[in-house]
Amino acid sequence: MNKILEKEFFSKNVVQIVLEAPEIAKSRKPGHFVIIKMGKKGERIPLTIASADAAKGTITLVVQKVGVTSAKLAELEVGDSITDVVGPLGEATHIENVGTVLCAGGGVGVAPLLPIVEGFKKAGNRVVTILAARTKDLVILEEQMRAFSDEVIVMTDDGSYGKKGLVTAGMEEVIDREKVNLSVVIGPAVMMKFAALTTKKYNIETYASLNTIMVDGTGMCGACRVSVGGKTKFVCVDGPEFDAHKVDFDEMLSRLGAYKDQELKDYENFLKLQTA
């Protein structure tokens, strides 16, 4: 049982939750995630740790409502508890001073990017961050990102805020103008696929943090498997970060859709129950 201490909506569908989890707060590093489960009948889903405060014993999660579990999570109030929280899981991001790092976050992928941006900045890098979203309301964590980035470029699909265009346009703008030593991309699989294709053109080493379906998160089931450089890897223990140029994003996209029909049905039922 982990108690919710703070809760804030960034937009209608994106909520930030500060959770009591003293041991995880102490052990976690940028790149780590947790698995949560709500109630006896809940499913286990992975969520990246956006930030943590070891002294206060808290971790911060940013959740986008996409299915039953995330929607239930968004409904919890301060003082409520999450039944099961386990972590920190995965391998931490390898952070060192490489020069200039181009960080690109799409949608709710911006949340897991935050501790990585912070880490690279603190390691002495020049950090340029691109925040991409469909529309203005979906741009999140801009202020926090500015605190740790030398420059933040906001891209929206509809041009309602920042520059109009996709994340890749923003990336190319930076790459055209200055030497980029490393790139980190986190977001929906499609976005990561195209971001990786972009940096590949310029031969820039790139990491992507993958958000596959998971069950246990400890390497026990293989639900999270992806092909990286032709080899099967388990995202929960071998990742979540991999060489973006080697990840088979098409396979990953297909695997993410494995339960699409059932999930959609469950989510619709859930929404119906809510409005009933």
């Binding site: 499913e43 286990r44 039944t83 099961d84 069950v215 400890t218 992806v226 297909s254 494995a258």
Partner: protein, 495 residues
């Protein structure tokens, strides 16, 4: 060793045992037929999750106990990895002292209700029974009787909670709550330690909960054992991964003096053949975890599972049998085993293979998958299979399967469960660079004390043996508890 022989002899010489032997002629005993375990109807049970074997009646148990000759040299015991005093517990059943029988079992086996259900008896005690070895007859049903005595005790409401020694306030940690961890926890609590079991998942029990299905080992049975440990003062911390949530050093700083690692062989193996990552292809761990731990088949629960119409399960072990029978229960029209050797080489318990056949499972033995194909959505829709034949024996002593050229053919499948073995869980070794491990990733230990290359760390079960059995894991846990006790007492004395 001599002590044991003398002890057994003295026990066997007691009046009640001698009288009992005299009460019936050996001929009469050996002329009785082995009991038949009552079971649920195959065509009904393959649609539900009810336990298949319903258990012997009192009359059946006593009759079966009468078959046992109470041999002067009980060879059956040599087949038991934990050395249960088999004739003694069986003779207790014959005298209808069922609680007494249960307490004999508990002298050496903390989980008899579990072992009576899942041990491969036909390879252990029953294979070395006098009936099997000397008389070439069907052995005494030792496993059924073990289960009977354990169930009787539980149902009687008079389950004895083992006494714990005076608390010595010394903290010890157990990593993993499978049979190895539970057995170690029980013994350490008896010695008086302050025991905490850390479990990565949200449920206690390891494979007993997430792997072995309800129809073979009901969760209630495992829970009773876990509750007994709680009553003995053992603490459980779920959702806690040692090496991640906290390191061994963190725990040592917190006062823990020694650890037992029973983290299991959790990592599923795949075959690395083309198409294996298509949707609808699972490891057996994923498939069984979704159904057993997450209750995915129940619409009330949030976790989804794919319930296919044509399900192929690759492998011939217990895990494969559990997966294929689960698929049938989830409504598969065709659920088949694809196994590259013949039935004689199958590692699964014989009873499970028989039950699977009764339930309508198809067996494609001497077949091996080569490749999977998918529809436009990436969902598997067929597979290429090759026929095999048996060649020369390999390193395992089993005859090596050899492909028959040109024998490939295609089978329609919409779900595949890959059940070709597991590797040791790498979490602990990865978090401890100084820990000595084998090339396969199993932890190296002293075989008597179960101590690893790090003195305060002991290990046992599947993390030491690779995928093995419940009884061996339990035996390791108990040995390690004794080893830890000796190690800590030594350390206390030195200070």
């Amino acid at each position: 060793m001599e002590d044991i022989v003398a002890y057994l002899k003295a026990e066997r010489g007691q009046d009640w045992r001698a009288d009992l032997r005299k009460s019936m002629k050996a001929k009469e005993r050996t002329s009785k037929l082995r009991v038949k375990m009552p079971e649920e109807d195959p065509n009904t049970r393959n649609t539900n999750n009810v336990e298949v074997n319903t258990g012997l009646s009192v009359e059946q148990a006593v009759l079966e106990a009468q078959r046992c000759l109470d041999c002067p040299d009980p060879t059956c015991m040599q087949g038991c990895p934990v050395g249960i005093n088999i004739p003694k517990f069986i003779k207790k059943i014959e005298t209808e002292d069922f609680l007494g029988a249960a307490s004999v079992l508990k002298e050496t086996n903390g989980l008899p209700a579990v072992c009576g259900r899942v041990c491969p008896q036909e390879k252990q005690c029953e294979s070395t029974c006098f009936y099997t070895v000397k008389m070439k007859k069907i052995p005494v049903a030792i496993g059924y009787l073990e289960r009977f005595a354990a169930d009787f005790e539980r149902d009687s409401g008079q389950m004895a909670i083992p006494e714990t020694g005076d608390s010595n306030k010394i903290k010890v940690g157990i990593v993993g709550s499978g049979p190895a961890g539970l057995a170690a926890a029980g013994d350490l609590a008896k010695f008086g330690y302050d025991v905490t079991v850390f479990e990565a998942l949200h449920e206690i029990g390891g494979v007993l909960k997430y792997g072995i299905p309800e129809f073979r080992l009901p969760n209630d049975i495992v829970d009773v054992e876990i509750n007994n440990l709680k009553k003995m003062g053992v603490n459980f911390r779920i959702n806690f991964i040692v090496g991640k949530t906290a390191s061994f050093d963190d725990l040592k700083a917190d006062g823990y003096q020694a650890f037992f690692v029973g983290s299991g062989a959790g990592l599923p193996r795949f075959m690395n053949i083309p198409g294996e990552n298509y949707n609808g292809i699972f490891s057996s761990n994923e498939y069984l975890t979704r159904v057993n731990l997450m209750n995915a088949a129940d619409p009330e629960y949030d976790t989804p599972v794919i319930s296919g119409k044509n399900v192929a399960v690759i492998g011939g072990g217990n895990t494969a049998m559990d997966s294929v029978r689960t698929a049938k229960r989830l409504g598969a029209e065709r659920s088949m085993i694809i196994y590259r050797r013949s039935e004689a080489e199958m590692p699964a318990r014989v009873e499970e293979v028989i039950h699977a056949k009764e339930e309508g499972i198809e067996f494609m033995n001497l077949h091996n998958p080569l490749e999977y194909y998918a529809d436009e959505n990436g969902r598997v829709n067929s597979m290429k299979i090759q026929k095999m034949e048996l060649g020369e024996p390999d390193a395992s002593g089993r005859r090596r399967p050899v492909p028959i050229p040109g024998s490939e053919f295609i089978v329609d499948v919409d779900t595949v469960v890959v059940s070709v073995g597991v590797s040791p869980n790498p979490l602990i070794p990865a978090s401890m660079p100084d820990l000595e491990v084998t090339d396969w990733g199993t932890i190296v230990v002293d075989k008597d004390s179960m101590q690893s290359s790090i003195p305060e760390l002991f290990a046992g079960g599947d993390i030491v043996r690779g995928g093995a059995t419940v009884i061996l894991a339990m035996g390791d846990g108990r040995k390690a508890a004794a080893g830890m006790h000796a190690y800590i007492q030594e350390k206390v004395k030195a200070n």
